[in-house]
Symmetry: C2
Subunit: 491 residues, 2 copies
């Protein structure tokens, strides 16, 4: 979980401040609701030395009335007295009562991992301890506790720098222990032990949230966001909480739609024709090769109404053997589809090996139209980013090529095309009242799409934006990407 | 999970019939509620060959309208066509729609385990597959599915007998394959592979239920009970279900309270005095030894009002060094205790190593007074048997001796003692209105206690019934058991 973990969407300073303010106020408002609902909230902080566990706890508790929380500092060896009890004893003693918060500055993880690193814990004892912890966390959930687990993550380099700063100053030198220096030196081996523990205790109701603790303010924001999200769900569900799992897939850095220039992306007719012919020929050969090599290919199209999805798809299919591909136009789900897991209708439309399925609109409807039209609950669409990444990871691991296109135009271009459709007899079927209604929600859609692209551009299934004010340009770009991705997979 | 698994409470024929009738009717009544609530119910059957998966599915579906269920038979190698899709594909295709049942005659387990047994699946692929399955089961739950997983268990001997019967008959011989015979021969190795898979996929919201399939009728009953229990909870919690986990601890065979003779258990004064002196001397020495060897000892007393708990405890403590033991009288929980996990007040009262804690009433209040007086929900006390066994297992693994006494008298004896207390000035403080009220619920309590003893008499922390119509007899028996258990642990 740790090795691949990269956070890419660190907000700008101003946005960060605004969001922090919002989340702090949210937590502050939650404390009375927690009191009224009698919800016990247990927050576990684990992580690297010098990652700032103490500091972030200090900031979080500022938003809570001192009568409603306690902090347990267990970041130390058990005392001789404590060693005379079951290992869980000193932690369980500190669990919160109903309606209150308890923060743990390290909890049962630290002791276990420490034992492994010191070579004092054999595999069997480790397995027993992990089992005990999983049982206890499950029991706490079953009995109405909200348990939120944070791992504060920093890189080896960052850790070294932080320690260096402390060592350089006479007054802070004492804070860096030999232990700390040793940890930094053996970062990689320790990361492996951490990672194993995180995986072994990553249960669906008590999942780990990994916090990128490089920037202290941003670390605070992430903690507050996950904590507030957990509280919100627990209060709504009377503590039978099903937390929203953190997206822990490796992500690509993406641009906001509004930052992508459109008007400089065009081709002359001549350029277009030449390229089209060349690329289609190449794709045809690749299609045959993919068939022989049994490579499954999934091409997913999303985009604004009138952005030119249909024409774009045609330029792809024109190059393919009709026996090898299928285009799946996705409309509202049929009743028998609506009655199942929302990904079911896509699971059942997957290509088999050697085949290509082109989805004209996709599973991303969940976080666009279904989100904005209220066809699913907030919990549903919030959960969907991770569920979709899991789905695509499954397909990737199976061996599929996954190509996701967002066909992009600006608002004016859409208006021009809508008007043209309305005024041209043979195009009128293409424009409906719903298109006009959706257009009114352009800004809402745009911010939902930005969020979607940011949260689902995984390294194994990134989004590609096709600038389609000039449809020719978009078609050539699509062909190039399909060819490139298929080539990579066939190598 | 499988190796230790023993079911001990197989009901008598008549009771079995009555319970079967009841559970069948329950399932029948549930189907309309499932339809109304739009709950999709997915039931997975896995297990040994010849364990009767098909037969039990056949019986279960008899209670459901054919429009509301389907059976997917996936107990076969994937076809060449299916092999061209992701391995989950052929299972996901079959998931039920909202309001309907789908039964799987083997699901994703079989294929994985088969691959391992044939040596076709390396550790990494196995880990990936298990991860995919856990993710999918979690996604289904998150999206409102009830997923119930059964493993049909029979012994090697039983399997051999069943196959033998089929082989003996010309008309059924074809049903036993070479594969089946091989499985029986390599039962132990296969059990290990099964066990590993069951452990690896035993998630808190999709736990495994292991069915003792030796007796076919009883197997049906267990399946119906777990299925109905799951449906009940899912309907109550709007599918954010927290299933009640199966008690999978090794159990001791116990007697019903009413089957235990009381009146032949007595001692003369002389016998009593002699024995008492001898045993207390022995216990004193053991107490010292336990202190030196740092053995923690937990003695738990439960019993009827006026059964003689107090006097019994006194005879134990009289033999101990006052610095080494503490008696914890347990009354109603204080507000700060009530505000926490119900086991917290016992966790925090544990003895440290080398010490003895005697609980005068215990955590079993959860499944007696709290159950019968409605101080907790049905879900709470149903869950508690397993939670308590987990708690005691944790203490056992830590190294504690756990001795649980039920001090038993009959109803008439209690009446005589109550009347005596009422009529004797210096004993009046011992009798309250509450005692009389509890007495009125004797029968309810008795059946709850029978259930408690049956469900929590684990091999590592069994119940001992102290026949206490003659209090002297009960005291001597208690001393003997404490001595015996401490001796065993100190060896």
């Amino acid at each position: 979980m740790l090795r691949d973990f990269v956070v890419t969407d660190i907000p700008e300073e101003e946005e960060l401040r605004a969001k922090l303010k919002e989340e702090r106020a949210k937590l502050n408002a939650f404390q009375m609701k927690i009191k009224e609902a009698g919800l016990p909230v247990m927050v576990l902080f684990e992580g690297w030395n010098a990652a700032g566990k103490g500091a972030v706890i200090g900031k979080v508790i500022r938003n809570i009335d001192p009568r409603f929380f306690k902090v347990a500092t267990l970041d130390r060896e058990p005392s001789n007295e404590e060693k005379r009890y079951p290992f869980l004893y000193r932690y369980i003693r500190e669990i919160p009562e109903a309606g209150k918060f308890q923060f743990f500055d390290t909890c049962w993880m630290e002791e276990i991992v420490d034992g492994v690193l010191k070579g004092e814990m054999d595999d069997e004892t480790y397995a027993t301890r992990v089992h005990s912890i999983n049982v206890m966390e499950r029991q706490l959930c079953d009995n109405g506790y909200l348990v939120v687990k944070f791992f504060m993550n920093i890189s080896q380099k960052e850790q070294k720098e932080r320690m260096g700063k402390l060592l350089d100053n006479k007054n802070t030198r004492w804070r860096v222990t030999d232990e700390d220096i040793k940890q930094n030196k053996h970062y990689d081996e320790i990361q492996e032990v951490y990672d194993k523990y995180l995986n072994d205790t990553n249960q669906s109701r008590t999942p780990w949230y990994i916090i990128d603790a490089t920037d202290r303010k941003y670390a605070e924001l992430q903690v507050l966001q996950f904590l507030n999200q957990g509280i919100d769900i627990a209060l709504k569900n009377h503590a039978l909480n099903v937390p929203i799992l953190q997206n822990t897939f490796p992500m690509e850095k993406v641009q906001k739609l509004s930052d992508i220039p459109l008007n400089d992306k065009f081709l002359t007719d001549e350029e277009y024709k030449l390229e089209l012919k060349k690329l289609q020929k190449e794709l045809k050969e690749l299609g045959n090769k993919a068939y022989r090599k049994k490579l499954p290919v999934i091409i997913a199209y999303e985009g604004w109404d009138a952005a030119g999805k249909g024409g774009n798809i045609k330029r792809i299919t024109a190059a393919l053997d009709p026996r090898d591909y299928v285009v799946e136009p996705i409309a509202s789900p049929e009743p028998h589809e609506k009655a199942r897991h929302y990904l079911w209708r896509f699971w059942t439309r997957l290509p088999k090996t050697g085949h290509i399925t082109i989805f004209d609109r996709t599973w991303y409807g969940r976080v666009m139209v279904e989100r904005l039209e209220g066809f699913c609950s907030e919990n549903d669409w919030q959960r969907a980013y991770n569920e979709i990444n899991e789905f695509e990871k499954e397909l990737h691991d199976w061996g599929a090529v996954i190509i996701k296109f967002w066909v992009q135009i600006d608002k004016d271009t859409q208006l021009a095309r809508f008007t043209d459709r309305q005024n041209t007899a043979e195009k009128q079927w293409k424009i409906t009242d719903e298109d006009w209604r959706n257009r009114e929600k352009w800004d809402l859609y745009e911010s939902a799409i930005d969020e979607m692209i940011a949260k689902t551009s995984t390294t194994f299934a990134p989004w590609h934006v096709l600038e389609s004010v000039d449809k020719k340009y978009a078609r050539i770009k699509a062909l190039r990407i399909v060819i490139e991705e298929m080539k990579k997979a066939l190598k």
